[in-house]
Subunit: 267 residues, 2 copies
């Protein structure tokens, strides 16, 4: 990356009054994509069929590419001379802003797919809104994410229906995954200082509107799959401000070891 020509200013369309909270919000999105892409890439070479192995790896690639683009903008907004690779490989867990949903261990195939489905159902309306309301580089990045996520959601929703309509075993595994994951979904829609500060500029969707779009998709697919949306009293929160589960630290030490072993290496 250090050898490529310095990219153009990707931040010039971002209104001055939202640059700071938007930089924070880009870490939400970039870290979600990076951490989930890494979790998914743990399936590389381990899928149940060659075709599914290839499909999961393709989704992982899209997510890592998405994080690369988002963190590049975030790094420019930060203005400290850090690159997207510095953000990916040289931040510690407390500096990551992903939701806890994406850092949970990959689990079995059903857990991986159900988690991916829950994320895709969130990412599609999110990036659709950004593509339509942001301008400049962000609009382009979001439009690419919409195109990718449309495909991902079709793939994961199809699997969720297949789990539900498959064997007793596949249905049980999918329901177990839902039961475990559900309390981590609320954090995606938390209103916090960052989303409140961004409300006026309309670059990002209102969290409650986003939640409604997400619920509509998730409930419809679960209904078709004859799976039940669990009832959860309290949802997990705090990861977006750096209070992560212990799983993120393990994931990062895996993910960052090569880059950290050769800091600044030109190879």
């Amino acid at each position: 990356m250090s050898e490529t020509i310095q990219a153009a200013d990707l931040t010039r369309d971002i209104p001055a009054e939202i640059r700071e909270p938007f930089g924070a919000y880009l870490l939400y999105l970039g870290d979600d994509a990076l951490v989930l892409g890494h979790r998914l890439s743990e399936w590389c070479g381990h899928g149940p069929t060659l075709e599914e192995d290839i499909a999961l790896a393709n989704i992982a690639l899209d997510l890592v590419g998405r994080s690369d683009a988002l963190l590049r903008v975030a790094a420019q907004l930060e203005g400290k001379g850090r690159s997207e690779d510095d953000l990916a490989f040289f931040r510690d867990a407390t500096e990551f802003r992903n939701a806890a949903l994406v850092e949970l261990p990959r689990g079995d195939f059903a857990f991986t797919i159900v988690r991916q489905f829950l994320y895709d159902a969130y990412a599609l309306p999110l990036y659709t809104h950004i593509a339509a309301n942001a301008t400049g580089a962000l609009s382009g990045i979001a439009a690419k994410a919409v195109k990718e996520t449309t495909y991902h959601l079709r793939h994961t929703a199809e699997w969720v229906r297949r789990f539900g309509g498959g064997t007793a075993e596949s249905k049980r595994r999918a329901q177990d995954a839902l039961d475990e994951l559900w309390r981590y979904t609320g954090e995606l829609f938390d209103e916090d200082a960052v989303t409140v500060a961004l409300a006026g500029a309309q670059w990002i969707p209102n969290p409650s509107v986003l939640r409604a779009a997400w619920s509509e998709t998730v409930e419809r697919v679960l209904d078709e799959a004859d799976l039940a949306a669990p009832a959860v009293k309290h949802h997990f929160t705090g990861a977006r401000s750096g209070r992560h589960t212990e799983h993120l630290g393990h994931l990062l030490s895996e993910m960052q070891i090569v880059a950290r072993s050769h800091p600044g290496a030109s190879w």
Copy 2:
């Protein structure tokens, strides 16, 4: 895979007199791509930069996709009702026909790239010949491989030059990799019963012609990188007839565990 519509006969262009040896040869090629793709996918999420991580994952995806296509034809030629997934996930190590070069552990980044370079320099003239001389499905599969490998070879050759012209450390690591890998390259060009039986049909290149093309590429790039081609008296052989290093067994147990845990699962 089991739910997709049965594919058309991909083998109909293959001349009757070479169907048996050609089926064996397709396992050479398909297993090379599958095993190397798996080794490369071990880097998923562990590349030195996001960009390189994405590049390696893309190459791994191409290789797994290539193996999927080749093993599908091989399975049809075999005519025992097995699918490409059966060949990938339900054969034991002694039934695999990949060269030992591709099964060696991934090593460090230099080892991975140098091995990939040595393979790419072999794959490009190989698939170029098949694309030009075979007909039907094989010609199409080979043409896709040529397109992909042209890009892969450009990427890996560029890295080899960068290693050689980089730091003393990067040069030493690349030379160490070459020294370790060199004795496994001869097997790619062994004349055996399979290649001899296929010589008349001209669907595959003559091994010595293939070796000459490979040598030309490898020597040119090593020369540009100021790296030395090692001298090796005896090269490793036997993997193509099922006598593998112990590394393949470990790789397969990793790769096959999910599919074997749910044999015939419809999920």
